[in-house]
């Protein structure tokens, strides 16, 4: 039996529109945030959860973390129903909202942590052990006594992560954890999540718009659109479907006019020529041969399709 089981989950919101002139009642409309969503996640998996804005990702996370009750459908997480007995359930989960701080703003983060220890009723020995472990893994040593408001965004996110993992949750939800972070912070955060997943067997569900996060962390990805699951499986398999074009930047020794090649679009970029082609229609070797015949190549790069473009293509194809 899987650790997380979601079956036929439905949730809709009633949205009241502004009253139109001449009508007495405000018009109500139902928006289906989730319509018949089912999936399973095994213990210790690290799963990416993607989809355009408004696809229902946050609603799913809110239901799984017990904040919302669905209209219908079954959910079991580790044998427990999230919206059943809330206080008992949330002991076993951790949630990090990328844009919403959970630690206290004006006090040193160590004080926040010790208050969390009281809130979760963690024993002193377990707390000290876990804190030392997380402080080490997240490199928090130097900032433990600094108030949250004086920390940089990257430091704050690390502190948030520590705060939500102190009680050793079996399951961690991350809602856009890398939003607004610089490259070093992002890499460190990903490294940490891999560590937490591997060392503590924590199941992680990662919601993000940053495809690099998914690429670096998750072997499995679920794509959500219009409240339904559109894809569930290997991330690279998903990408290969949409990885259809390559971009070549080429610079010749002297100014050269490129003869027209069918199914290749050419544009000028500074001193270089930018060629976009599809390897299926024109094998790469053939294109290179053509270029070599045209003139002496000084510099050349071949780039795969940008992941964001692929995802955009996918969303477009799925009519999202």
């Amino acid at each position: 039996m899987s650790y997380i089981q979601v079956e036929h989950l439905r949730k809709s919101y009633v949205v009241r529109k502004k009253r139109e002139k001449g009508s007495l009642l405000r018009e109500k409309s139902r928006i289906d945030a989730l319509s018949d969503l089912s999936f399973e996640i095994g213990k210790g998996e690290l799963v990416g959860y993607i989809g355009p804005n408004g696809a229902g990702k946050s609603t799913t996370v809110k239901i799984l973390s017990g904040i919302l009750t669905p209209d219908s459908g079954n959910v079991l997480v580790g044998g427990r129903v999230p919206w059943g007995s809330r206080k008992e359930y949330v002991r076993h989960i951790g949630v990090v909202f990328g844009q919403r701080m959970q630690l206290w703003w004006d006090v040193p983060i160590l004080d926040s942590f010790s208050l969390l220890r009281d809130i979760y009723r963690i024993s002193e020995t377990a707390y000290q052990k876990r804190l030392a472990e997380l402080t080490d893994a997240l490199q928090l040593e130097d900032i433990l006594r600094t108030p949250l408001r004086l920390l940089s965004l990257g430091q704050r996110m690390r502190a948030e992560l520590c705060g939500s993992l102190l009680h050793r949750p079996e399951l961690l939800f991350l809602d856009e954890p890398t939003i607004g972070l610089d490259s070093i912070s992002k890499l460190a955060l990903r490294e940490f999540l891999r560590w937490e997943n591997r060392e503590n067997g924590t199941t992680i569900l990662l919601t993000t718009h940053d495809m690099e996060d998914i690429h670096a962390l998750c072997s499995r990805v679920m794509v959500l659109g219009h409240g339904q699951k559109l894809f569930d499986g290997d991330f690279s398999a998903l990408l290969s479907r949409y990885d259809t074009v390559r971009t070549v930047l080429v610079r010749f020794e002297e100014e050269t006019e490129l003869p027209g090649i069918p199914s290749v679009s050419v544009s000028r970029e500074g001193e270089s020529l930018k060629l976009v082609y599809s390897p299926k229609e024109l094998p790469t070797a053939e294109l290179l041969e053509r270029l070599r015949q045209t003139g002496t190549i000084r510099e050349m790069t071949i780039q795969p399709q940008n992941i964001d473009h692929m995802i955009a293509d996918m969303y477009e194809e799925m009519a999202l």
Binding site: K11, Y13, V14, T59, K62, S65, G66, I67, L68, T69, W83, R86, K87, E88, V90, R91, I93, V95, F97, R100, Q102, W104, W105, D106, V107, D111, S112, L115, D118, I119, Y120, R121, P147
Partner: protein, 266 residues
Amino acid sequence: MDTIKLYIRSMGMLLKSQFQYPASFFMQTLAQLVMEGGEMLALILVIDRFGHLGRWEPGDLFFFFGIMSVTFYLTECFGRGITGAFPSMVRMGQLDTLLIRPRGIVTQVLCSAIDPRRITCIAVGTTALVIGSRLSAVRWTFAKAFLMAEAVSFGFLLILGLFMIEAIFCIHSVKSVELVNAVTYGGRSACQYPATIYPRPLRVLFTAFAPFALVLQVPAGYILDKPLFDWPAWTAFLCPLSGAVLFGVIYMLFQRAMHFYRSTGS
């Protein structure tokens, strides 16, 4: 017990964070003193002009003012999470972060704010109580001291309960809370004076619906040896319990509202 410990620890931490901005804290505390001092000045002017209100002598009036002021601002100080912070917590989505922690929502909301600036208001109220009990020559007994503590404690619950009505409206995403303010802040202003000076509809409002008269003023009348209503003396010890009843009812409504929140979402 564990919950009380958590509350005390939270308060300690919140105080620490308030004192991160000492200048701002000092100025605001001073502003509170001016505000509540002004209220008391108004009372002094009334007494100066009229001498007494019906059968209530100046000392009695100070006492009524004092008991209201102390109770109300103790609630505003220690119950700040409910009386002030909750609406913005709902709007900004902070409520979600409380829902993912293994503690009761009311506990967590109470643990989320304290307003130590009210200390000056409480001091003004205490001064009024002392002046009042001197002027009216109150003979303090153990029973009276006990009743005083009882009235203030249940008054705390009453005021907390009234403010929770606002919290319930917030969860149902109704923005207009003016109506609720009429019984909270309005109740405080009106019930600085003994309820018997008001016309019948207001007396009913503050006895049956927002029972400031029962919780604070009937005990005050007992302490002053001037019963507020013509009721037997022992009722003074029973009346404050109405504050707990009101709190209980509103607490249940609050739990239902949280249920509503969890099934409709933000």
